[in-house]
Amino acid sequence: MTTPPPGTPTIVQFTPLPSQTHPSFWHKLTELKLDVLKLSDAEVEIGGRYGVGRVFRDREAAGEKWVGVGGSLGVDEGSFGGQTTTTTTTSVPVGTAVARGIVKNFNTIEEFKAADKSKIFNQVADKIWSSIHTTKSTTLLNTFLVITYADLKKYKYFYWFAFPAFVSKPAWYIDGALGWVGAAAAAAAATTTGGGGGGGPGYSHDQLKSILDQLHKSAHSGSKPLPYFLVRSSGTTTVDVVPVEEYDPSKDRYTDTLDSTGTGTGTGTAIGFIDPSAGEQNPGWPLRNLLAYIRALYPGDSTKRLKVVCWRDSYVPRGEDGWKSRVGVITLGDGDGTGVGDGKRPDAVGWEKNVQGKLSPRVADLAPMMDPTRLANQAV
């Protein structure tokens, strides 16, 4: 990616959400296959979760080096709970979102290879799309899909994840010069450059802390944690975090006078999401369906310019580490955008690429961790 000339709009590129399969996921799948599913290849509902992307200071390297570790969609044995959102934890930590998924296990490698992947994928995408229109709920927005084949004798598991995301046509753009900025840094810049009453796209330390507190509360008060949320300004030190379902185009419209240096004022509500990306200029994959959701339910000019909070903090930063969350103001390209008017489902993408970057399944070889004879040798 080359740095665009100042002021040029850049297409917003989303970091794909990677999958992470905990070894216990395969143990549980093995059990399920042997005891419950047997020869059935019906779809089974599972749960998973992803955390915020994080950056770490590299203490070994000279100077200021940070290493980004993106969040990933993790599945483990708790994924197979009776309820789809159950995990083994008593409470979901802040900065973690739960996702529902479907696992489809095939009996033979031939069936696995011959499966009509487009059909399975489209079924999931259809389900997400219809949930937007029928229930107006965001709970299915981050639905994922995984197809598997388990070679139980060899402790090898073939699998392929998919994270269906709707393609926005035209695409979303972000101002090339301003780009995505640190949530706290942007506020500081806005006040120093005369943003006028703390305008600018960012938030103050107190406001960010308020967001964190409210996310924490939503995760622990018995209600579900919010993978997607709205950030409504309600004062200089506080903000209101509410579910996206409460979006009201008349009240929440975002307007601003930002120029390419980030100077200017902006008012209105921001849309936020738990962001598993660690890339500075790339929001994470879950934002795609959130944008599709907003555009599908609230078409028109009011949602053509949106302020987005990529939430990447799980605790109040201490010391020199600042807030990791990022904000950006994005604009829809010319045209009405997807799914508007005809209500037809936009195209969806999201098959996970393998290690070599190809659209191909992956394999987990658990023999070193599971094969009793090899383990015995290891322990001599």
Partner: protein, 362 residues
């Protein structure tokens, strides 16, 4: 042989009584209640740690059902321990924690390697020699199987050859709004893990670890468990995990064992047989300084009740629990809540490149 040993361990564990009396300053051992208290403190101070209940059928009855063990996920591991430049100068910095008290049988020592190690690999430019890990079932072969998880031996599963044929480029058209993997970060000082590798030629890969702390009933200490993933989030093989454990301990105190709170999970674990004595030593040392500080503090402001500082700089902002009756006028020293924080510092010397010790960050 190993299986018999494991059976023996589980029986021994079953028969050993639950520790009831607090022994943490005398022996470095803690009771389950103290483990929970220390765990609560750890999870409160460092929210990356959370309690898990694990497999319900495996729950230990001396611990609360929802507080069976602690876990932190995705702990980064930037380098291999084997690739750390370990020079003579470092050897001088080694701290020998010796335990030659009368109570001990003598000669019990723990080498704390990499103590106070400064960065001696500027931008990690000297590619450390990756030592071959002693590996019983055919060394290089084993390692190559693990790398990438894809280079599988042909004779084992012929069908595997077909997997690459499954590549389906027509499944999805190119999508302009998908960030290409490994691009993205340019201008700033945030580096993508993949870029370190390319930039320096060193074998730098960002692995991540799930780290669990359980309570070991027999040794009456916490016990650490590791599950590693490579930079592509594929579980690491035991041989690969051993690369992240300091050579002093790799094939001696760290083994692959069944994780006690899940049905059939195997994880790398640091054997806890020496934990108590090491912890005792460390706690003693820390306790002395804490006591000294508290005494000084008391002298400075004799009327003041607020004497429960953790370590001076870390003044506790935790809600103070009612302290044991009668110790109001005595110096309390280090509190057991801090046990796990200290424990993690000790573990950090065994796994120097896995950043388990989040407490150093501030």
């Amino acid at each position: 042989m190993h299986a018999i040993q494991q059976q023996y361990w589980s029986i021994r564990d079953y028969l050993s009584p639950v520790l009831r009396e607090s022994k943490f300053k005398e022996h470095g051992r803690i009771t389950p209640e103290e483990f929970v208290a220390a765990g609560d403190f750890l999870a409160y101070k460092f929210p990356v740690w959370t309690w898990e209940k694990g497999d319900v059928s495996k729950a230990r009855d001396f611990l609360p059902t929802d507080k069976q063990y602690l876990i932190t996920r995705g702990v980064p591991c930037l380098r291999r321990a084997t690739s750390l430049a370990y020079t003579d100068a470092d050897e001088d910095a080694e701290r020998l924690l010796s335990f030659d008290d009368a109570t001990d049988s003598g000669g019990d020592e723990w080498v704390e390697t990499h103590a106070g190690r400064k960065s001696n690999m500027p931008s990690a430019s000297n590619p450390g020699e990756i030592a071959d890990i002693p590996d019983v079932d055919g060394g290089a072969d084993e390692l190559s199987t693990g790398v990438g998880g894809m280079s599988l031996k042909q004779e084992e599963i012929p069908a595997l050859d077909d997997i690459p044929d499954m590549e389906e480029d027509d499944l999805e058209e190119g999508d302009e709004a998908t960030a290409a993997p490994k691009t993205a970060v340019t201008s700033s000082n945030v580096i993508d893990p993949s870029q370190i590798e390319v930039a320096t030629g060193n074998l730098l890969q960002v692995r991540t670890y799930d780290v669990m702390i359980t309570y070991d009933k027999y040794y009456q200490t916490p016990r650490i468990w590791l599950i590693g993933y490579d930079e592509n989030r594929i579980p690491l093989t035991p041989a690969q995990i051993f690369q992240d454990i300091s050579a002093e301990h790799a094939s001696k105190t760290v083994t692959i064992e069944p994780f006690p709170h899940q049905a059939s999970l195997q994880a790398a674990s640091v054997h806890p047989c020496k934990h108590a004595s090491v912890m005792k030593k460390v706690i003693e040392r820390m306790n002395n300084s804490v006591v000294a500080e508290q005494l000084a503090h008391q002298k400075a402001s004799p009327k003041e009740k607020e004497k429960k500082k953790w370590f001076g700089k870390k003044s506790g902002n935790k809600d103070e629990k009612p302290s044991a009756p009668g110790d109001d006028d005595e110096v309390e020293g280090m509190r057991v809540d801090f046990y796990l924080v200290v424990f993690l510092k000790f573990i950090a010397s065994i796994v120097p490149t896995i950043e388990v010790d989040s407490t150093t960050a501030f």
